[in-house]
Symmetry: C2
């Protein structure tokens, strides 16, 4: 058992309208059933005419590029300086939406194929129908990733095999069910193809031979299956962007209660968290004795049933600007409570109490 990775040499410049199946079959008459073709997305884009004209240089080029990027962007995930990590309409998260200015005329930019799975399927179908070749096709591109320097090639589209090899249910020799079950083999195949493409000049197609003897027409949703839903992703936003979103959350914090019963330890942590930044003399007190709380809240109209109570007192003597500062301190506490997952509502103090305000938690 062995795999071979072979370069397809002799593919020249690809231009709009080129018949990629013919180009590849001509350059690689040695293709066999079961081969995996790893095709650089750029030649697919070029053949499909996914090029836009831009000025060759100057600020006009930058402006045009920004406009093209905006058109390819569904969502900005992170940015710093000129770097833009965005989610494309395919769902891929990539720098600059995969727009590329290399291996193309200076007055053009190359966009990703509109539907790389469809491109892969079309190429696979054409090779089967016209050249009697049953191959799998991967459309690959180069991406960076968080946490690790360096780029790798991964799959944007696939046909003739599923993107993921699932080991679920397999058991190791020790009787443990396998933990790491879903391997993104098309990404590993794309990377394997890059190893030989990167060694040669201008080799946009590599072939992995021996990975299987027969392709699988059920591609299980193609490379789209690799796109993790943003809601499921622990890194759906850049750190700076998420941190700014946290600030925005704090600015627009709504009244309301979180999960009940309230975690009183979390409330104490929140009070501690702001203790060093509130105006000296501001005091927050968690009223944790049930009887005392019941006595105080009995007088408060509309008190939420069973809510925990924090009393806040402004420094004395109480002056107007002191109450303003105290109100700011109280919002600090509400935000710190929110960071602990504790919701709160600002209420007037219990009648007759020396406190300046109350929080219902």
């Amino acid at each position: 058992m062995r795999l071979e990775i072979l370069p397809v040499l002799g593919i020249g410049h690809v231009t709009e309208g080129d018949d990629l199946a013919a180009v590849i079959a001509t350059a690689a008459p040695w293709l066999r059933d079961g081969d995996v073709l790893v095709v650089t997305s750029k030649i697919v884009s070029k053949a499909e005419g996914r090029l836009v004209d831009v000025p060759a240089d100057g600020p006009e080029r930058l402006a045009a590029r920004d406009e093209v990027l905006a058109g390819e962007t569904v969502r900005v995930v992170a940015s710093r300086g000129p770097t833009r990590i965005v989610q494309t309409q395919h769902g891929f998260v990539m720098a600059s939406a995969g727009i590329d200015a290399s291996n193309v005329d200076k007055t053009q930019l190359v966009l990703l194929p509109v539907d790389p799975d469809a491109s892969a399927r079309a190429l696979r179908d054409a090779l089967r129908e016209r050249y009697d070749l049953d191959v799998a096709v991967i459309i690959s591109d180069t991406m960076g990733r968080p946490w690790r320097n360096g780029l790798t090639d991964v799959a944007l589209g696939v046909a003739g095999m599923p993107a993921i090899r699932d080991h679920r249910g397999e058991v190791d020799p020790y009787g443990n069910e396998l933990q790491l079950t879903q391997m993104a083999v098309v990404d590993e195949l794309a990377g394997a193809g890059e190893l030989i493409k990167g060694k040669c000049d201008q080799v946009p197609v590599a072939v992995v031979r021996g990975y299987f003897s027969a392709t699988n027409p059920d591609d299980a949703g193609g490379a789209r299956a690799l796109v993790r839903d943003a809601a499921q992703d622990l890194f759906s936003l850049g750190t700076a962007e998420a941190r700014a979103a946290g600030l925005a959350d704090a600015a627009t914090l709504a009244d309301g209660r979180g999960p009940t019963p309230v975690d009183l330890t979390a409330v104490r942590r929140a009070i501690d968290a702001v203790a060093g930044v509130v105006t000296p003399g501001t005091v927050f007190t968690l009223v944790d004795e049930a009887e005392v709380r019941a006595g105080l809240v009995a007088e408060m109209p509309g008190w939420p049933d069973g809510a925990a109570l924090v009393l806040g007192s402004a420094p004395t003597p109480v002056e107007p600007i002191g109450l303003v500062r105290f109100g700011a301190d109280l919002h600090r506490l509400r935000v710190a409570l929110a960071a602990e997952g504790v919701g709160s509502t600002l209420l007037p103090p219990p009648p007759g109490s020396p406190a300046s305000a109350a929080l219902a938690l």
Copy 2:
């Protein structure tokens, strides 16, 4: 030109103290100079005794596992439910610090090698010195990644070649300098190795042949070169964690000015951002006419030179709880300003002004 990926068959269970060079050289007498060995980190860990005993099941197992994880964790990057994405002492960001319970007895956990680059170097040196083989060695492990489903194998350690192939300075046929310059080829090699390991049962070593004719003793810092510094990383924290950090920032917001001159458009955006959540009747006014501002701030002791001025007025008639609510609104605005990168300081209103408070920006 071609690459071959070959499995090393016949490697049995590896246990502490095993001589990996002997194990591999015996199982693969066909190794050649220039081969790249892709060695699953687990057999390196086992040979190096990186195993810990844990109860086979029950809550004791979970508790023991948590303790082991804490010991392998330098920094928690993200967590959700039972998932912990952490940074290890090597700098790698991985689920559960790479601790693995598969392919090992139920009463043991496998930790990552202490220094995978050193492990790779030791294996390479042993094969050269004792078997006259000049090979590169990659220690690989399986990792997930943000945004894309499925796992891939990547490199934890390398010897005999640099982790990154740098195309910097190369020019494409169109005269463009290459944009994507640094390829993490050891990760692609690790993934290529997984393709054949995953096809066979219990194959912990793969060989990539043909990648180069001679190894490079300068490994340029090994796989550590792949670790991106957290400060440089746009995704150094999980989204939920960063968002909570943003809330904490808001709770502990300090007085102070940001970059000057202040972006007045950003100030207006911040005022708009809180307009829907402040108490009805609360009014924030950016005093943007220089003469008016100069007249107002002339009376304010310690006014920061050249600072922008926002006046805030509580709803009338002004009552104590109204001033508290207004203070909370003012902190909302300060936080919204911070989200725009604008620093602020809460000050008493100018003498004689009907405003309740002022912000110096």
